[in-house]
Amino acid sequence: MTVHVPEPKVSSQAAAVRTTCPYCGVGCGVIATPDGTGGAGIAGDTAHPANFGRLCSKGSALGETLGLENRLLHPHVDGVRASWESALGTVAGAFRRTAEKHGPDAIAFYLSGQLLTEDYYVANKLAKGFIGTPHVDTNSRLCMSSAVAAHRRAFGSDTVPGCYEDLDEADVIVLVGSNTAWCHPILFRRMVDARTARGTRLIVVDPRRTETAEEADLFLGLRPGTDSALFSGLLVHLDRVGACDARFVADHTSGYDGALERARAIAPTPAATAAATGLSEADVSAFFDLFAGTKRVVTAFSQGANQSAQGTDKGNAIINCHLATGRIGQPGAGPFSLTGQPNAMGGREVGGLANMLAAHMHFAPEEVDKVRRFWNAPNLITGEGMKAVALFDAIARGKIKALWVMGTNPLVSMPQADVIKDALKGLDLLVVSEVMADSDTASATAKKTVLLPALAWGEKDGTVTNSERRITRQRRFLKAPGEARPDWAVLADVGRRLGHGAAFGFTSAAAVFRQHAALSAFENNGTRDFDIGALADIGDAAYETNLPVQWPLTKRGGTKARLFSDGRFFTFDKRARFVAVQAPALAQATSETMPFVLNTGRVRDHWHTMTRTGKSQRLSAHRPVPFVQVHPRDATAANLAEGGLARVSTAHGAAELEVIVTEAVAPGTLFMPMHWNDSNASMARVGALVRGVPDPLSGQPELKATPAAIAAASYRSRGFLLSRDPVTTPAGWWWARAAIGGGSGLQFATREGSREAMLLMRGLFQGLELAEYADHARGRYRCAVYDGERLVACLALGPEAGRPDWEAAKALFAGAVPGAAERRALLSGRAATAGAGPVVCACHGVGLDVITAAITGGAGSVEAVGAACKAGTNCGSCIPEIRKLLPEALARDAA
C-alpha cells in the first residue's frame, strides 16, 4: 500500500494539529495526530464550537482515507506525465489563444465547495478580473444556490441569519428536505440533545421517511415538490390566527400582502394544504398549531428544498413564515440553510459563482467599479456568467472552448452526465485539478487534456466557512505527496504566466486570505453583510493559530452570532422582502411510461462521489452497493424482490441498482443514492438519470423529482469477489466495489454461470493455489485463493435467488491467514464462528447481529445497547437504526 512520506520529525512526539473536517457544512473541528508513517489519529476537537469534540462516522474514519492509492501525483498532458512548467505552459498558452481567437468568455471554470477559500479567491480573481470571463461556477450550484437566491431575494444579501446555538435553544425545529441524522449528524445530535434538555419538538418535512423522520415528533411525508404549498398554507394560517408580528412586518419588511394573497391562492386552508401536499389535515393542523404557538422555531432546510426547479421559492416560502412572525435573528429562531459542503459558504464569500462578482458584491456599476479598483483588474467582467447547467450546455454547443475543473466530479454529479461526458470531448482544452487519478472526471478527455495533481485534506492549508458563518482553518499535517501543489499557487502561477505578475504574487495562503479579507471590507461601511475587515492585517502567526471566528468581523471589532436581530437588512431600504411564490408543480410530470418520481440523496457513511470515503472499509460497510428504495406496493406490482436488481430508467439514462423494499418511500416514488460512479459501480451514476431542469432564479437543477420507470433486471448469478487489490470484472457484469478490511470487495451479478466464474478465477490467479467448491448443476461456485497460507482472494457465486452473503467472508478476509475451520467456511459460505452481521454502527464497527444479541441479552434502550456493545455511542447517526431494532428484537424474544 502506498502511504505518505513521513514528515521529517522535529521532535519525537508528533504534534497534534487542529483542523476542520472536509465533509459536510457543519464544519466540525478535528484534531489530527500524524502517526509519522503517513497516517494520522483522528479525534474531535472539544474546543471547537461546531462539534465540541463530537465526530460523525465519516469524520471519525478520516484516518482511513489518507492512503495514496490511486492518487494523482504528477501533472499529465494528454495522458503523458509532464513537468509543472510544461503543463502550466500548456494551460496558459491555450487560455491565451482561446481568448484571442474566441474571446475570453470562451474560457470557463467549474469549481467546488471542496476548495479552500484561498483557492476559490484566486480562481475567482483570475477568471473574473484578469482573464475576463464571467463563466465561473461551482458544484455549490447543485447544492445550495437556491438558498443563496432565496436569501438574496428576502434579505438583499446571502446571509445565514442564525447560528448553531439556535438549535440548542429552539423549542420547535422544522427540518425541510434534510436527512439531518445522516447528512449533518453532529447538528442532529445537538437537536436531539435539545429535545432531552428542553423538550424541543422535531418536525420533519420530507417525501421520504428518512432516519431523521424516524426520530421526529411529527413527520410530514408530503408529495414531492409541494413544500411551497405547505409553507404557503402556514403563512395563511399564521395570518388568520394572529400569530404574525404585525409590528415587525410593518417596520422591517415589505411585500407581505402580495405574498399572503399568493399563499391564499395556493393553500387557503389547512384542508386545501392537506389536499395540495397529500398530507392528512390533522397532521397539517398539528404542524400549523405548533409553529404558530411556539416562539422559538428554527426551520432548517437543505437539499430537499434546494435541489428543485422551484428551490428558490421553497426557501422563500419558508423565510416568509419567519419574517411574518419576526422570528429571525433571535435566539432559537430563524430560517437556517444547512449547507452540504465544507466550504460552500467560503465559495459564496469570495463570489465563486456565476451570478456573483466577489465578496458578496454583484454587478451594480458601483460594485463592479469597487472590485476593479481593488484588484486593479484590466478585464473585469460586468455581468453574470453561465450557471452550471447552462455552462455545460454551452460546452456541448461549442461556446466554451476551454474548461478548468477543480476539485469536483461533474461527470458523476451533474445532471445528464452522459451528455456532458461527450461534450467535454469537443473542448480545445480541459484542465482537471484533481486528487484522484481515476475519478470519472480525471478520466475524461478533450482535444488537449491537462491533469494537475491537487492536495487533499491533511495536505492543504487554508480556511473554510461552515453553515453558521464560522471561518475555521483546515491545516496541513501531512507532506504534499508527489508533485501535488496548492490550487491557489497553481492558479497564481497561471496568472503570472498570463502577464499579471503583480496581481498574483501571492507567497502564502495567509497572504491570499488577507487580500480576501481586505476586499470584504473595501468601501463596505456596513453596506454588505460579509465583512471580515478585522482579519485584513492578520499576521502569519495569527492566521496559523487564531481562527475560528464567525463573520461579520469588522475592522472596528464588530461581530455578531446572529444577523437581522435589529430588523435591518441589506436591501436598499433595509427592509426584508416577502416573496410571492409560485404554486408548486414538478418541472417534469410523470407519464404512463415513466410513472415514478425518482428522488436522490445521500447515505449515512458516504460523501459525494466516494473518492475519499470509498477508501474506508468501515464507511463502505454500511451500504456496500448502490440501491433503489421501492415501496412494497410498487415492488409487488413490478415483481421486484428485496435484494434483487432493478433497472431504473429515465428519459436521460439508466442505472441498475439493488432493490430495497421499504415503506420509507411513498408509493409512486423511488429513491437512489448519489454517490456511486463509474469507478465503483457498473451502472449507478445518478447524474446520468436526472434531467436537472434548473430553477429559473438560482440555476440549481432539479435532482429529486425525475420521472422514471423501474423493472427487474434479471441476471443468472450473483456473487462477490474479495481481493487484496481491485479486480476488473468482465464486460457485461453488474458490479459495485467497496473497500473492505484488507482489500477490495466486489459484489456482482452476471448472466454467466459457475463454470465461467471458475475459469475467470483460474485465469486471474494463475500460479496461486485455488481452493474451490463447484456445484455447476446448481450454478454455485466458491473459490479461495492462497499464496502459501495467505488468503489473497475469495469469490462466491450462486444463482440470483440464492445470492451469497459476504459478511462472513469479509470477516475472514480481514485476517490474512485463515485457520482450518475458516478455510472451510470460505468454501461452504457457512460461518466458522458467529459473525457480527451487516454493519450498523460504522464508528465502532458494530454489526446488526451483535446489536440484536445485546438487545436479546436484555439491553432495552439505545443507551443500554451502547453500554453493551458501544454501538451508537460515538456519532449517534446509527441510533435511529438501533431504535428500530429495539421493539422488534424484544418482541421476538417474547414470542
Binding site: E769, Y773, A774, H776, R823, L827, A831, T833, A834, G835
Partner: protein, 440 residues
C-alpha cells in the same frame, strides 16, 4: 465398521428374522450338524461370532486355519508395520473364546482338499474332517508380478503377520525399500516403512494412486500426503524386472530407470484363493460363486469373504466380508437372510489422512459432480449426483459425513437439500445467526 451390518439389515427382513428366532427348536434336542469352517481370517471369525450368538450350540463347529495363530485384525497390519501398534493389539479372540463356545480351532493347518463325495475336508496329512455343512473362508492370495527376479529373497508380499515380521526384519536403518502397488495396501505399507525410517519409494503403474477409489484430485491430495510423510511416489512406473546377486539389489523400470533396493514389498493386488474349490469341482469364476445366501454350487457348501464371488463381484475389503458373515450366520441359523451386494466403499487413513470413497468414482456423463477442493488444507470432497440420487462420493482429509453418504448411495433415496450438509457437515450451531440465516 460395527454399524454396517445393522444398516444392512435395516429393511423388512428384520421382523421375519425375529419370528424365526422365537420359533426356534432347542438345539440340544436334535443331533448336531457338523459344520467345518476352512480359514480363520476376519470374515471367518465374524461368522463364528454371529453364528454362536444366533444359534448357540446348534452346530458342532470345527475351524481350520493355515496361519499359526487365531484370527487377527489384518487391517492393522500396516500400523503394526509402522510400529504404531503391537501384535497384541491386533488380536481379536483368545483361544478360550473358541473353547467356551464349543468351537474346535485348528491353526497352522492349511486345508488341502475338499472331498464332496464323502463330505470330508482333508488337512494335509494331519486331519480329515467330516462335515454336514462346509464354509469356505479361505481369503485370497497376494499376486506376484510375473516379471524376472520376483523370486529373489528380499521381495516380500504384504498380507499376513509373517510378512510383517519379514519386512520389519529387512527394514533396517538406511535401507532402501520399494513398494510396488499404489492401492490401499501399498500406500499403507509404504507409510509404515517410511515411519520406520526406511528410504521408501512407492511405484504405481497407473497415473494416479488408488485409481479404483479416487479420482485425480483426491489421488493428488493423497500423493501429497504420502510425500509429506516421506514416501517418494513414482506414477506410471512399470516394473520391468528385479535384479540382484542372490538377493534383491535393484529394480529396473520399463523406461530403463534403475532404482536401488534392499527390500521390495509387492502389493499389486490379491486374487481369491480358489485351489480348494476348484479341486472340489465347485463352480468358480474370479471367485467361488455363491448365491444371495452365500451358497456355492453345492448346497452344503458356502463361501464368504474375499474368496467368494457374488453376482459377479469379488470384494477385497472387510466390510462386505462382514456382511457375508452376517448373512450366512443368519441363514445357517434358519433365519431369512439375503445378501444383495455391498455398495463398495473405502475408508482408510493414510497415516492420519482420512480417505473415503464410495460408489462411482469418475463422473459419468449422466451425473453432476459437486466438488470441494482445498489442497492447501488437504481437503477434498466430491459428490456425484444423478437425478437427485447420490451415486458416488470421494472424500479426503475429513470423512465426517461418510456414513450418511453410504446410506444414501445404498438406499438411493433422494438427496434433496442435504447436499450442503454432506459437503460441509451440519452448520456450526443453531444459535449461530449466520448459520441460521443461511439455513433459512
Amino acid at each position: 465398521m460395527a454399524d454396517v451390518p445393522a444398516q444392512f439389515f435395516e429393511d423388512e427382513t428384520l421382523p421375519l428374522m425375529l419370528t424365526a428366532q422365537t420359533d426356534q427348536v432347542p438345539a440340544a434336542e436334535i443331533p448336531r450338524e457338523r459344520l467345518v469352517v476352512v480359514g480363520n481370517g476376519m470374515a471367518s471369525l465374524r461368522f463364528l461370532e454371529r453364528l454362536t450368538e444366533g444359534s448357540p450350540g446348534r452346530y458342532d463347529v470345527t475351524v481350520v486355519g493355515a496361519e499359526p495363530v487365531a484370527a487377527y485384525n489384518r487391517v492393522l497390519l500396516s500400523s503394526l508395520l509402522g510400529g504404531e501398534v503391537d501384535e497384541a493389539a491386533c488380536a481379536f479372540r483368545g483361544l478360550d473364546w473358541y473353547e467356551s463356545h464349543g468351537i474346535r480351532l485348528i491353526t497352522g493347518a492349511p486345508a488341502t482338499q475338499v472331498d464332496r463325495e464323502n463330505a470330508l475336508v482333508v488337512v494335509g496329512e494331519t486331519h480329515v474332517l467330516p462335515f454336514d455343512k462346509l464354509v469356505l473362508a479361505v481369503g485370497s492370495v497376494p499376486i506376484r508380478l510375473p516379471k524376472p527376479g520376483m523370486d529373489l529373497p528380499g521381495i516380500i508380499t504384504f498380507r499376513d503377520l509373517a510378512d510383517v515380521s519379514a519386512i520389519r526384519k529387512a527394514a533396517v536403518e538406511h535401507a532402501k525399500a520399494i513398494v510396488i502397488g499404489g492401492g490401499l495396501l501399498g500406500l499403507e505399507a509404504a507409510v509404515g516403512l517410511a515411519r520406520l525410517g526406511v528410504n521408501t519409494t512407492l511405484l504405481h503403474v497407473m497415473d494416479r494412486l488408488m485409481e479404483r477409489q479416487l479420482d485425480h484430485s483426491a489421488a493428488t491430495l493423497v500423493r501429497r500426503a504420502m510425500e509429506a510423510r516421506g514416501v517418494k511416489v513414482l506414477l506410471k512406473a512399470d516394473t520391468d524386472r528385479v535384479e540382484g546377486d542372490g538377493r534383491v539389489e535393484r529394480l529396473i523400470l520399463a523406461d530403463g530407470t534403475v532404482l536401488p533396493a534392499d527390500l521390495v514389498v509387492m502389493s499389486v493386488g490379491v486374487r481369491p484363493n480358489l485351489a480348494l474349490a476348484q479341486g472340489a469341482g465347485l463352480e468358480t469364476g474370479r471367485g467361488i460363486k455363491v448365491d444371495d445366501r452365500m451358497t456355492t454350487s453345492d448346497p452344503r457348501i458356502f463361501a464368504l469373504g474375499e474368496c467368494a464371488e457374488h453376482r459377479g463381484m469379488v470384494y477385497g475389503l472387510v466390510e462386505p466380508a462382514y456382511e457375508h458373515a452376517e448373512t450366512l450366520s443368519r441363514h445357517l441359523s434358519g433365519q431369512e437372510a439375503r445378501y444383495s451386494g455391498t455398495a463398495l466403499s473405502t475408508s482408510l487413513k493414510v497415516s492420519g489422512l482420512p480417505v473415503f470413497s464410495a460408489g462411482v468414482v469418475d463422473t459419468p456423463e449422466t451425473a453432476e459432480a459437486i466438488v470441494m477442493s482445498d489442497p492447501g488444507a488437504g481437503l477434498y470432497r466430491k459428490l456425484l449426483i444423478e437425478r437427485d440420487r447420490l451415486i458416488g462420493a470421494v472424500f479426503v482429509g475429513d470423512i465426517g459425513e461418510q456414513a450418511r453418504c453410504k446410506t444414501l448411495i445404498r438406499t438411493g433415496e433422494p438427496v434433496g437439500d442435504q447436499i450442503d450438509d454432506l459437503m460441509f457437515g451440519r452448520p456450526a450451531t443453531a444459535a449461530d445467526p449466520l448459520a441460521e440465516t443461511l439455513a433459512a
